[in-house]
């Protein structure tokens, strides 16, 4: 192989050195370096996934290891897709996804736009804004149940103070119409900074010369915003939505601690529902089928989305 510059240099050097350069061949090193990672991922990600798919066609239950395992074909899948409870969690998940993404994009982009004005001390304030997303969602979710306590909770107190309502008159996590918003608020608090950071990177990637050219053409500020800023930031924004979408589709820890899926099952997102089937009811085969459906959904949606993203990037 005389393609790479290294090989050419190696062959041009005296034989003694060239022999030492060889040592392990590049190909051997490449394999040596890549294999452990791939093996680990195959063992802990792919192997379990295949196992999940296999279990999804059976009636296996982890808590009854001695019961005969029966192959049940597509029955688990049919049961899931015709179960109204599961459709309700799908709806709860969709509601959660849509609202968190809308709010996080709006607030995150606005913040990035403001921070891009480069006022004094903006590095410090940006760092403060970014803090929540680095924390443990379970710990944060648990503590927010305290902030949401009627009367004594900080959230209720502040809302009561601002709106003039009695802080003990409403409970964010015990009320069926408020509970979904309780999780949307905490998720937005935690993850808006993520969208903000990505938008900021997008805004900073726009060269000044484009605005200068627009200024020469006497384009209004408003026009510049819609024809330059937005289209240039859009690919970044779409990437942020992709990451948030995948993460929130998997959402578990925050919601488990915050509402536990309640009151009733109003905030029971798909992953909480799945955990119930798998680790409380121990319907392993059924839960595996559910897991496969969720994985195919997120993978499918993400693939379609990435195609759209690439189209936007190419423009």
């Amino acid at each position: 192989m005389l393609h790479s510059p290294i090989d050419r240099v190696a062959s041009a050097t005296p034989p003694a050195i060239a022999a030492r350069v060889k040592g392990l061949s590049d190909r051997a090193i490449a394999w040596l370096f890549v294999t452990p990672s791939i093996v680990l991922l195959l063992a802990i990600n792919i192997f379990p996934l295949i196992w999940t798919i296999r279990l999804s066609f059976t009636n296996f239950r982890v808590n009854r290891p001695n019961a005969p395992i029966e192959f049940v074909g597509l029955r688990n899948y049919i049961n899931i897709l015709t179960d109204s409870d599961i459709w309700q969690s799908m709806q709860a998940t969709a509601h959660f996804l849509i609202w968190t993404i809308v709010l996080q994009v709006l607030i995150g982009f606005s913040l990035a736009y403001l921070i891009n004005k480069k006022f004094r001390g903006n590095d410090l304030w940006t760092t403060i804004i970014v803090l929540p997303m680095m924390l443990s969602p379970a710990v944060v979710g648990n503590f927010w149940t305290f902030l949401y306590q009627p009367q004594i909770g900080l959230f209720n107190y502040v809302v009561g103070f601002l709106t003039g309502n009695d802080p003990s008159s409403f409970s964010m996590i015990a009320n069926t119409s408020l509970a979904p918003w309780a999780i949307v608020i905490v998720d937005t608090w935690m993850w808006t900074p993520f969208v903000m950071l990505i938008c900021l990177a997008g805004l900073r990637s726009i060269p000044d010369s484009i605005y200068e050219a627009a200024e020469c053409d006497r384009a209004s500020k408003w026009r510049q915003f819609w024809t330059i800023t937005i289209p240039m930031v859009l690919p970044f924004l779409m990437l942020a939505v992709l990451f948030r979408g995948i993460e929130n589709f998997k959402m578990f820890d925050l919601v488990v601690q915050l509402t536990g899926g309640g009151p009733g099952s109003i905030t029971e997102l798909t992953s909480i529902n799945l955990k119930r089937a798998a680790f409380e009811q121990w319907r392993t085969g059924y839960a595996s089928a559910y897991a496969v459906i969720l994985f195919v959904t997120v993978f499918g949606l993400a693939s379609i989305y990435v195609k759209a993203l690439n189209k936007v990037k190419q423009r």
Binding site: V9, I46, R120, G121, P132, S136, L154, A201, D253
Partner: protein
Amino acid sequence: MSYSVTEPSGRQKWVAGILVVFYAVVTLLPLLWIIGTGFKSPEDAIAYPPKMVFQPTVEGYVNLFTTRTRVPEDQLKALGEPTTWYDKLVRKEGVVITGASRFAERFYNSVIIGFGSTVLCITLGTAAAYAFSRFKVPLKDDLLFFILSTRMMPPIAVAIPIFLMFRSLGLSDTHAGMILLYTAVNLSLSVWLLKGFIDEIPIEYEEAALIDGYTRFQAFYKVVLPQAVTGIASTAIFCLIFAWNEYAFAVLLTSGNAQTAPPFIPTIIGVSGQDWPAVAAGATIFLVPVMVFTILLRKHLLRGITFGAVRK
């Protein structure tokens, strides 16, 4: 006259500054509330209206690390006067310390599993990233995408077979099992991020080293590794933070022996109901390292959380 048209005017800066500072303060409030509650007495923690000014106490921290019980008056007398400062702190209303809580143990588990998986993840990740960055690996793009896609799987979706697998391998509820699991979870981040950092190191350095008679392997650890130290350090901190904060696997796959702190903190209860100052104290101890890292990392933050997909 030459000026940058995007340079905002003084008034714009003021308005932007005020709005951002307002948002930052609103963001910071719950965090400060957590830290503050850790230093409140149980009565102050549930006072109405919520107390901004209070007499600080470390009672919450004492409660976090101990188990306590309420004893009747006559037994209390038999116990005699409290001897240590922390005994004195909880002795009011007849509450006595009966032993250590499991928080220290859980925290220790978090440290062992967090650091163990980080070291393993960085070792495997650096090697793989170097190979992907410098060599013609067959199916390179497919492998890289495969590595990234492992991150899309909901933890619960693979938890059942991992649970079964760990049980038959004797890995369930062990440090080793959790270290392996978290390494696999974070490996995608580690490979992608480190590949980005290594791509930026000019290949000429290694070529020079090779001409000087180094082997490939020597060139890797004597030339490339020292250049990649910043990237490795920030990748390590991201892996640590993710392992540190992970909850779903920890709660599903561990129980007594290897459980980390995140599933434990919400379960802290006192003599009467949830002991919020102790919960807040636990949360604070747990949050502080991450907050410090965040401040240190702010330059690499964006890369770290987006797998290097976006660079600032």
